[in-house]
């Protein structure tokens, strides 16, 4: 498999110095590389505070077992041998490597809320996981301050257990003590709005309830970096309002919020800065309005017409 969808990224300092993913394609607008030594220049993207997260040329590749190998020929004019071989290789010894994030770099600051936009499969969720330290990256580096909390649609807790037990488990995993979790139990249940369901196993929950509970647990200890992966989309209006308050709380406590969402309204309401990810590459990083506009029109800076 190796090599079919992999580009060879040499970690050459000189080559990377002024070749960020997007501008590298076109030479863009001539203002590159003006940042002074020490690298403080690029944090000036409206960042109000000290950096909380530094993402440096991160690549994420993950293994997928089974299934047809990417890039295997699918045409009709294959030899019998080829067809048999391809069919067998889908079931035996089939490992594909997905290169989901390709050399993303940026710096996030205290008090910033940053949206990550892009089409399905652009690598947004994978990037979030790598930034939260939950998924190993294969190249580059992520530096973070304090504690990251990632809220995702599939960040499941143990569904066979009751909500209360999941609250205890999640709280302990976040580094709270038993007493602290017990103290916050009622407020977490209340915030999640699950009421009596707290005593039932989570597999009895609606998807909205489950995601509300996850959100409530993950934010029971105010994290330094909060990452929300489309988790708000399943909540009702009341819950979305409460989540927005929580996000503000994180920002006020000098934290950073990342939001992956397909709702332009949510993104515009909550984030001043947006990153546009396409096919694993960061194509645009700037104020939300400008990025969203370019994204809607499929116009990446330095990319003449996005092909669909």
């Amino acid at each position: 498999m190796a090599g079919t969808d992999d580009i060879d990224f040499s970690l050459d300092e000189a080559a990377f110095a002024d070749a960020p993913p997007a501008s590298g394609r076109t030479g863009a607008s001539g203002q590159a590389g003006t940042s002074g030594p020490g690298g403080t220049g690029p944090d000036g993207i409206g960042g109000p505070g000290a950096p909380t997260l530094v993402v440096d040329h991160v690549h994420v590749r993950y293994r997928v077992f089974g299934g047809r190998k990417l890039g295997a020929s699918t045409g009709y004019k294959r030899s019998l041998y080829r067809r048999l071989f391809d069919r067998a290789s889908g079931a035996v010894g089939s490992v594909s490597e997905v290169h989901a994030v390709r050399g993303v770099s940026f710096v996030a600051h205290q008090g910033e809320s940053i949206a990550i936009v892009g089409r399905n499969g652009a690598g947004k969720s994978t990037l979030l996981r790598a930034m939260a330290g939950l998924m190993p990256y294969s190249e580059g580096a992520v530096y973070a301050s304090g504690q990251c909390a990632l809220l995702g649609v599939n960040a499941a807790l143990l569904t066979a257990l009751t909500g209360e037990r999941n609250i205890m488990l999640g709280g302990l995993a976040l580094g709270l003590t038993r007493a602290e979790v017990r103290q916050r139990l009622d407020s977490i249940v209340q915030f999640a709005g699950i009421g009596e369901f707290a005593r039932l196993p989570m597999n009895a929950y609606s998807s909205g309830m489950a995601s509300r509970l996850r959100f409530a647990i993950s934010t029971s200890k105010v994290p330094d970096i909060l990452m929300i992966d489309e988790a708000l989309s399943t909540g009702d209006a009341e819950f979305q309002r409460r989540s927005r308050d929580k996000i503000l709380e994180v920002k006020e406590q000098a934290g950073t919020v990342f939001l992956v969402s397909h709702s332009a309204k949510a993104v515009e309401a909550m984030c001043q800065r947006a990153l546009w990810l396409d096919k694993g590459e960061l194509v645009m990083d700037g104020p939300t309005g400008a990025v969203l506009e370019a994204y809607k029109e499929g116009r990446a800076p330095g990319r003449e017409g996005n092909d669909d």
Partner: protein, 295 residues
């Protein structure tokens, strides 16, 4: 303000400098062994709660619920009674109280076998948790082994009841069951660390673990007195008598049954196997800390 339309990248060296200036830590880097151990200790409540919840969850989803924790080993004893007490009576040659012998052996071995099987899948079976929360991954093999331990308690209690019913009187030697079980736990944990890393790198090996534990079940003397049979096999027989599974079964049985004796060598070996497996397994697992959760 910079041009909004173009991502700017720091050089790697600048990024590292910026990060260290603001006291950011590098994610995904393997911590030093001491730090790692300390962070596991800080998550001890989480480890225990996870183990307890898992043990609880395994018996959920039925009308009798947690009662199955007791019913399953009890029914197993019933099967033994029928098979070895009524049908295959000659298996018990050389052992006075074969039922007690069998019950102690099986329940302990059951713990070892499922500890190894589930230990191998410790990362794979919790991959959602791995992807949702950041914690030292060694917590998973530890908690999986604890889960098996918790699930073994009802079986141990039943075992004691059966032994009492069969007319054995408690002596001080019964207390040596505690260190024996503790050694077994350490040994299984060490193997679990090893298997968890190996299986998470190559999932295929997860299918071999049950085969190997099945082999162990038949050669370690769970169903028959190994010591009598091994005499005819020379060196191979000696190895069979002193391999870890056989040693631990002997230690546990000697605690309860007067007719089984464990030599000081057995105890030394038991301690040696446990400490070696636990220490080597732990370090082996830790070395791949930055790679778990890749699939």
């Amino acid at each position: 303000m910079d041009s909004p339309s173009r991502p700017q990248a720091l050089t790697s060296a600048d990024a590292a400098a910026l990060a260290s200036r603001h006291g950011l830590r590098k994610l995904g880097a393997r911590p030093r062994l001491g730090q790692y151990s300390a962070s596991i200790w800080r998550r001890r409540d989480f480890t225990w709660e996870l183990a307890r919840s898992d043990a609880y969850g395994k018996n959920q989803g039925s009308y009798l619920g947690q009662l199955w924790g007791v019913l399953k080993p009890l029914l197993q004893v019933g099967v033994f009674y029928v098979v070895f007490g009524i049908i295959i009576t000659e298996a018990s040659r050389g052992v006075e109280d074969f039922l007690s012998y069998l019950v102690i052996g099986t329940f302990l071995f059951e713990f070892i076998a499922s500890g190894l099987n589930n230990g191998g899948r410790a990362i794979a079976s919790k991959v959602k948790l791995v992807r949702a929360l950041e914690f030292p991954r060694a917590v998973l093999p530890i908690s999986v082994t604890l889960t098996e331990m918790i699930m073994m308690w009802p079986a141990l209690a039943i075992m004691v009841v059966i032994v009492l019913v069969k007319g054995h009187t408690p002596t001080w030697s019964w207390l040596t069951l505690i260190p024996a079980v503790a050694l077994v736990y350490l040994f299984v944990l060490g193997c679990g660390f090893f298997l968890a890393r190996v299986v998470s790198a190559t999932p295929d090996l997860g299918n071999l673990v049950p085969i190997l534990t099945q082999l162990a079940r038949y050669v370690a003397g769970v169903f028959f007195p190994l010591e009598l049979l091994a005499a005819g096999f020379g060196l191979l027989g000696q190895i069979a008598i002193y391999e870890p599974f056989a040693v631990y079964l002997r230690l546990a049985r000697s605690a309860i049954l007067a007719e089984v004796t464990a030599s000081p060598l057995d105890w030394w070996l038991g301690v040696g196997y446990a400490l070696t497996a636990a220490a080597a397994g732990y370090v082996f697992f830790w070395r791949a800390e930055a790679r778990y959760g890749r699939d």
